[in-house]
Amino acid sequence: MSILYDEGQQAIATESRRVLDARASKDRLLKLLEQVGEHDAAFWDTAVEQGWTALAVPEEHGGLGLGLVELGLVAQASGAATAGAPFLTPGYGVTHALVASGKADLAAKYLPQIAAGAVRGAVAFAEGTDVLPAAPATKFADGKLTGTKPAVPGAIKAELALVWASGANGPVLALAELAGAERKPVSSFDNSRLYADLTFAGTPAEVLAEGPAALTLAREVLARMAVVTAHEQVGGAEALLHIARDYAVTRKAFGQLIGAFQSVKHRIAEMYGLVEIARANCIHAAASAGTDAFLVAAADARLTATEAYDTCARDCVQIHGGIGVTWEQGLHLHMRRARSLAIEQGNLLFWEDLLVETLTGEAA
């Protein structure tokens, strides 16, 4: 388990940041906030062109055969730019489920298309306020799904969904093409995430796992996605730390730079602490994938990354004063993204509970 990035990984980090910096457009992102049903297409085109969609797909299926560490670095860069289409993380979730389930025919059918960006994945686990409900209302029977999954990220445009459902013998992890499902777009505070209610009415689906194995795999998929998202959160939080610092060394009040006031400089130093703790947890979690320590490491990363991004969003706006709450200045892009990412892949409350369950050895 390596916790230092090697040369290839460092190159991925540098290159993804460079490409996204060159193509970032605040105006484009601001426009997306007021449109339901549109994502950051320029980002997605970049992701496909740069091979990010293929990163974690095995080589035998047209991918690059890399893993969570590399994808995390791309996610960190996209988080810093508040770029990102809501397919990269769930696409990875679908990919991992296909590989881990051992369904070779399904893997051969979908993975090359996922790698090429031709098929975009969504992950539909949550129902009501439950992130991974013990008895999902969505049913699976006779090869068909029935029921509704509320506000699934990416669902307005995704072609394929990994669905958590109830079957005849306990839970089922099923894969469904979304051509046969109804999508009802949800108007949101972060519209480019493409949230839609997905309704299945006898939609054909394939089983990837059943019973206790389905729960184990669903948790593993969720934890892996949570680690990707945690990297994205760290990227966003770190960007806000730098924005806050840069503002504090240029803006003056009461005859001096505001960064000379301890109330401001300590706030920024605290942001630094949260970012570095979350980054350390992310590196550890990504490197722990596939080990027994992974679920706990993922929870640690998720908890600290959510705290870091939320706090940095809150405090960076505060340090900017009035200008920080204007539409044009755009800090609200981070504020909104901090919230949407805090909820996708399970909120803090879910992860706190799951972590303690694991630490205390309580029954799942």
């Binding site: 230092l4 730390l241 001096q256 947890n281």
Partner: protein, 403 residues
């Protein structure tokens, strides 16, 4: 197994062989006084020296083992788990002795001191803080004036750890009050048994008295006791504070392990309901686990970077700041959780195993060795490039600073 891992395993085996006589578990049954514990500590240090685990990362010509910083950290991390009676020697070997090695003028005398300090036969203290300046070290007022071919020193130091047991100390004093405060300081070593030195222990809030006030009444210093240039004392003092960057850290903030909190919560109830099922308790456990895991990962990464010949990042400076204040809050919560049972308090309980003493002694940890506020300033200024605070004393001769 890497060379470091092999070394670590050997160290652990040696420590285990010492444990029946010296480890905390063995000593706690004996109800030793501080003096008796110190005497045992001196024996332990001598055994450690003879076994080749003293001065691990110091040069062999000065009495060390000539190994790397990683060897030292590996040993320290193992040693910490046994609770050996080494607390009395931590500062002595951590700061004054390395500075003496670097600046001491009479090399034969220096080597003799180093070996005696490593063996626990002599202890050195660090005389920096004063009533008028702790975090603001350069505000110190103890003065040394020329006296023939040497100096005569008068003033007072405070918070000096273990001074009552010390043979020597390193000290920063003002030798020129007519220049800016940082520029008029000079660094010396001092014989703590010299005429005119008086040590008075200070009893701390937690009940122990390991820190002292130290008074100097016209104490004679030879010029050969000077370390560094006249007027260069602040630089040497900063060097002292920087020297021990490769120290073992503790994400528990030198308080109890999180497992103890989980066990505490498992045994107790809130309004008749299991405390471990309470969302507030679960949240505290989860958040503390995540924070501590982050600090541990920072430590592991720093270690890996050193092994790869790289310089660890500045995020290591977060350890004490984040860990100790979290320990303070968690200790408060653990006491609350225990309800009236928490009133049953033993002031001598080990801070890593008891919520009461952990709570009562936590403020010391947030102040000593750089207060939270100073650490935040350091991160803001040195890591993030934010401006210094408003400083009315800047550019002003010391004796003209407004009171």
């Amino acid at each position: 197994m890497s060379e470091i891992e092999t070394y670590r395993a050997q160290a652990r085996a040696w420590l285990a062989s010492m444990a029946p006589k010296y480890a905390r578990a063995a000593r706690s049954k004996l109800n030793l006084s501080v003096e008796e514990d110190l005497a045992l500590g001196r024996q332990y240090m001598a055994e450690k020296y003879d076994a080749g685990y003293a001065g691990i990362n110091w040069k062999t010509e000065i009495g060390g083992q000539g190994l790397s910083n990683m060897h030292k950290i590996a040993f320290d991390a193992e040693e910490m788990q046994f609770g050996m009676p080494n607390v009395y020697f931590g500062i002595s070997l951590g700061m004054p002795i390395p500075i003496l090695i670097q600046y001491g003028q009479d090399r034969a005398w220096v080597k003799e001191r180093v070996i005696k300090a490593l063996r626990g036969e002599e202890i050195w203290c660090q005389l920096f803080s004063e009533p008028s300046g702790g975090s603001d070290l350069a505000a110190l007022r103890t003065k040394a004036e020329p006296d023939g071919n040497g100096w005569r020193m008068t003033g007072q130091k405070v918070w000096t750890s273990w001074a009552q047991y010390c043979d020597y100390g390193v000290i920063v004093v003002r030798t020129d009050p007519t220049v800016e405060k940082h520029k008029g300081l000079t660094y010396f070593w001092v014989d703590m048994k010299a005429e005119g030195v008086e040590v008075r222990p200070i009893k701390l809030a937690g009940g122990d008295s390991h820190v002292n006030e130290v008074f100097f009444d016209a104490v004679r210093l030879e010029d050969s006791q000077r370390m560094g240039e006249v007027g260069g004392g602040f630089g040497v003092a900063l060097h002292t504070l920087m020297i021990e960057r490769y120290i073992a850290t503790d994400s528990a903030g030198f308080g109890p392990h999180l497992d103890l909190f989980v066990d505490t919560a498992k045994d107790l109830t809130i309004n008749g309901k299991p405390a471990i099922k309470d969302g507030r308790i679960r949240s505290a456990i989860a958040r503390n686990h995540a924070m501590r895991a982050g600090l541990d990962s920072i430590t592991k990464r720093a270690f890996a970077m050193m092994q790869a010949g790289m310089q660890p990042g500045p995020e290591g400076s977060l350890q004490k700041l984040v860990a100790v204040r979290s320990r303070q809050k968690l200790s408060e919560m653990a006491l609350d959780l225990q309800g009236n049972q928490a009133f049953d308090f033993d002031p001598h309980a080990y801070v890593k195993e008891d919520w009461g003493t952990s709570w009562l002694n936590a403020p010391t940890g947030r102040i000593a060795g750089g207060s939270d506020e100073v650490l935040l300033n350091t991160i803001a200024e040195k890591v993030l490039g934010l401006p210094q605070d408003h400083r009315p004393d800047k550019g002003v001769p010391f004796n003209a600073i407004p009171a």
